[in-house]
């Protein structure tokens, strides 16, 4: 909606400049033609807070639903791979994984605000942060040694100390034939009393099972970083004598069978978990999160703004970029097996843009286009703030695109961070996210959406 609105606003300003105030009487043919309809003098467009909250909920539905649909496609490609392993079916599964992450990355702006992704309980109500399916869907970092074979060293890090086995580490859920592979067992991971029991599920487990560890050119894990992701061969899914566990390491057929079975179950679990979010945001639902959120007024608006701030600064700048940069840790990046981190960064930042403008482009090319925070700011008279945040987002997106472009040109994020702490594209992107956060604070204070509910009297609670 922003483009249309900007157009209207520009017309309004012109009218103001020409007539010293819009009297609402000038029609399309100018002052000499027939009088046009009366306008809301000086206010180009009116949207309410509930409009903004509703559009935000609509985009949540659309982006989770897109992710769910593409996850079902991924599941189908994985079934094809396991049924007939070949380079072609293997690549098709990888492409499907990359595809589902495009809309999913844009949903992450719905995190950090005690929404369904972080707090959804099985009965459809919201609990506290940590109760939701986020851990099962997108748990990271991943202790991949628990799932499948790993190399003795990754990026030169052997992690060994006295008494450790010097060669490959082989014991894991896939190789442990006493571990019955089932959805329930994978979900539960046999850990009682555990608050994060789902580290065996989600996007990054599937990513690891499709790409394998990113071991660079010499496959030893100690060589120079290169431009490729993980090196898992499709023969890891071939049964019979062709079965491998890594390039050139033949393996018992049962291991490849179990690996395929695990991958299929992980895809099935992912589809199930995404569906719970689609249901929570279903606009036809009654009493579901969508209905409650739309009715939530300023509390919902505050959540939108909080999610935008936490994702942009705390998560994207503070964690996903700054830690990788600070530690120069090759694989301390979000999608470390597929080397898809550049897309994670872009799609996360795009999610913030979507929330601001109230616009989202669906995977079929159609759009959800409603009331944005920009419209609300203009409606309430904060035109300068509206434009400042628009400009800040533009700066962020163009700076982040340099990381994306470099990766597409052959230098993935894990190699870009090697350029040093002052690598201009990453440092510049972090700086843009910081500046964006400054202006977001102005947005919050202009719209005056403080949540004071914790400050209430304590008397009733005693």
């Amino acid at each position: 909606m922003n483009k249309k609105l900007t157009g209207l606003l520009a017309m309004g300003l012109l009218a103001l400049a020409g007539c010293e105030g819009d009297d609402g009487s000038v029609g399309p043919a100018g002052a000499t033609g027939a009088a046009g309809p009366a306008g809301p003098a000086g206010v180009p467009l009116v949207v309410t807070r509930t409009d903004v909250v509703t559009t935000n909920a609509n985009i949540a539905y659309a982006s989770y639903s897109d992710s769910w649909v593409l996850a079902i496609e991924l599941q189908g490609k994985i079934d094809d791979l396991v049924a007939a392993p070949s380079q072609e079916t293997f690549d098709a599964a990888k492409d499907a994984w990359l595809a589902v992450n495009e809309p999913y990355g844009q949903t992450e702006v719905y995190r950090f605000r005690v929404g369904p992704i972080d707090a959804l309980l099985p009965d459809g109500s919201l609990g506290v942060e940590g109760d939701g399916p986020e851990g099962a869907i997108n748990a990271w970092p991943l202790g991949e040694a628990l799932v499948d074979y790993v190399a003795t060293a990754v990026d030169g890090d052997e992690g060994s100390d006295s008494g450790n086995p010097p060669t490959g580490v082989t014991g894991n859920i896939i190789s442990d034939t006493t571990f019955t592979l089932s959805k329930a067992n994978i979900r539960d991971n046999n850990e009682l009393d555990d608050d994060e029991r789902n580290l065996t599920t989600g996007f990054h487990v599937i990513e690891f099972l499709l790409w394998g560890q990113d071991l660079n050119a010499d496959l030893s894990g100690t060589g120079t970083r290169d431009a490729t992701g993980g090196q898992r061969p499709f023969s890891d899914y071939q049964t019979g004598a062709s079965c491998t566990s890594g390039i050139g390491t033949s393996s018992a057929s049962v291991i490849c069978e179990r690996r395929g079975q695990y991958l299929q179950l992980a895809a099935e679990i992912l589809v199930e978990d995404l569906k719970t979010l689609v249901d929570a945001w279903n606009p036809n639902g009654t009493g579901n999160h969508y209905a409650n959120f739309v009715a939530g007024g300023d509390v919902s608006l505050a959540k939108i703004l909080e999610g935008m701030g936490r994702l942009g600064f705390g998560e994207l700048a503070g964690e996903r970029m700054n830690i990788a940069l600070l530690t120069n840790s090759q694989e301390d990046e979000h999608s470390c097996f597929s080397d898809n981190t550049h897309r994670d960064i872009v799609t996360n930042a795009q999610g913030i843009v979507n929330s601001y403008f109230g616009e989202y482009t669906r995977i079929d090319g159609s759009t959800v286009d409603g009331a944005g925070i920009d419209d609300l700011l203009i409606s309430e008279g904060f035109t300068e703030t509206a434009n400042a945040f628009r400009a800040a987002l533009e700066t962020t997106m163009i700076r982040i695109s340099t990381i994306d472009d470099m990766a597409k040109a052959g230098m993935p994020f894990d190699t870009q961070i090697q350029l040093g702490i002052n690598e201009p594209n990453i440092a510049g992107s972090i700086q843009a996210l910081s500046a964006q956060t400054d202006i977001l604070e102005t947005v919050i204070s202009d719209l005056d959406v403080t949540v004071g509910d914790l400050r209430q009297d304590t008397e009733e609670e005693i």
Binding site: G143, A145, L146, N172, E331, D332, L454, E459, I462
Partner: protein, 451 residues
């Protein structure tokens, strides 16, 4: 000085009413002084940076938050900066016990909560068999080439929990407490400790050591029955006042953070380079470490520093509304001389700026009597001594996590219960509390929860 004043003021409400800091209409003082957090657009977490922080520092704050929030994983993993979990551990992340930087669940509400550390007494040969803390979980056992995987490496046993009920004379409040027991370990040797809230730790670290020494009164020279003493830690140059932990064994936020990384998550650092495996736990010793390529520790220097900075700079939120009931509770607080240990305020200097903070603690060790004693000596602290915990933000911590409880093991569901558990040096105050009307007792609780 405040301690003395409070003693003199016992029973003298008129005099109290005239004191300048007890303006009956104004708000309660800002707990964190100039670093107090105003109410913002969030209501579900205490993870908020101090408001004066510049963006560059705040970036490090959020980087530290990632180390606080994200689960550690088993080594080796591709995310080399975040591996090294266990082999023995109690939780995978800081966040899983200190949710939203607040308090963990009480065993009474949630017997399986991960947010409980089970400390062990050094009796019989318990320390050589288990170390000084029970580790209730362990990583998947990977024993290497040619060896069969045998499932999850058995952690140390998780204690079963038994509730004991105490009925007191002169009050209808029923007190519950938990006993944790494990086969082979006598119940008296196990002390459950709940994960405390984390706000304002950097401000407590900034209280001058001379101030703590001035508050000491080990020989009860003023005959008020209170004998607080500094928990001195370290020798010679390194000798410093302990401030953090339930018995104040750690003088700095860094030392406390390193202790939690090692004892709760199994992550080694420059402070604590050795894993928690007890001498005879050979399979534990055989597991791979998550040390970095340069022989760095499992949490390396830069990331450890950001985690410490994060922990030290969690902002203290404003106090809640000072209603008439809260003001009445404040008078009760003063009447009972609670401030003799829960010292209301301290002057500190942070980042070159002077301010007054209101944590309501003297950070000193006090004998709290047999009902609270856990029998576990820690450093110089005896089995009956506890460090006065700060009271700021307790009400918020309870509101954020209704499953939590007060006191070191979360046994008290209400402030009223917590006061009644006080014994030893606080026995007089607790006895006087018992003689108050219910309205006065409730007012005291309202005051404490408003801080």
């Amino acid at each position: 000085m405040i301690r003395l004043a409070a003693t003199v003021l016992i029973g003298s409400t008129l005099l109290i009413g005239s004191c300048s800091q007890r303006d009956a209409t104004g708000p309660l003082p800002a707990p964190g002084g100039a670093w107090t957090l105003a109410w913002g657009a969030t209501s579900h977490t205490l993870v908020q940076p101090t408001p004066t922080m510049d963006r560059e520092t705040e970036l490090r704050f959020w980087t530290g938050f990632a180390m606080f929030r994200d689960p550690w994983v088993k080594a080796p993993s591709s995310t080399t900066a975040r591996d090294g979990l266990g082999p023995l551990f109690s939780a995978r992340s800081c966040q899983s016990c200190h949710a939203g930087a607040g308090r963990g669940d009480s065993l009474l509400n949630d017997p399986d909560t991960p947010a409980m550390a089970f400390k062990l007494a050094d009796v019989d040969d318990i320390h050589s068999r288990f170390g000084d803390q029970l580790q209730t979980r362990a990583i998947y056992d990977v024993t290497g080439v040619g060896k069969r995987l045998s499932g999850f490496y058995p952690g140390e046993p998780r204690p079963s929990v038994k509730v004991e009920t105490l009925e007191l004379d002169d009050t209808d409040i029923v007190l519950n407490r938990v006993h944790a027991s494990v086969p082979d370990i006598p119940a008296y040797a196990i002390s459950p400790r709940v994960a405390p809230g984390l706000v304002g730790l950097g401000l407590l670290e900034a209280i001058p050591q001379s101030r703590l020494e001035a508050l000491e009164d080990p020989d009860d020279a003023n005959s008020d029955g209170i004998t607080g003493r500094v928990h001195w830690v370290g020798e010679g140059e390194a000798r410093a006042a302990g401030r953090f932990g339930w018995k104040a064994p750690h003088p700095t936020v860094a030392a406390q953070t390193a202790d939690a990384f090692r004892n709760d998550i199994g992550i080694t650092s420059v402070y604590n380079p050795v894993e928690t495996c007890a001498p005879q736990q050979q399979r534990c010793h055989d597991q791979r470490s998550g040390n970095g390529p340069q022989g760095d520790h499992e949490i390396g220097g830069i990331l450890f520093d950001t985690a410490v900075e994060f922990t030290a700079s969690l902002a203290v939120p404003e106090a809640r509304r000072a209603t008439a009931k809260v003001r009445r509770g404040q008078r009760v607080f003063e009447d009972l001389a609670c401030a003799a240990c829960h010292t209301p305020s301290h002057d500190i200097v942070v980042a070159g700026e002077q301010t007054t903070i209101w944590p309501y603690t003297d950070l000193l060790l006090h004998d709290m009597g047999p009902l609270l004693a856990d029998g576990i000596a820690q450093g110089d602290a005896t089995g009956g001594e506890w460090r006065t915990p700060p009271l700021w933000s307790l009400g918020l911590q309870q509101q954020l996590n209704p499953e939590t409880g007060f006191l070191h093991d979360g046994r008290a569901a209400t402030i009223q219960e917590a006061v009644l558990w006080h014994g030893g040096e606080a026995a007089t105050a607790a006895a006087r509390f018992k003689s108050l009307s219910k309205a006065e007792q409730d007012a005291l609780a309202a005051f404490v929860l408003a801080l």
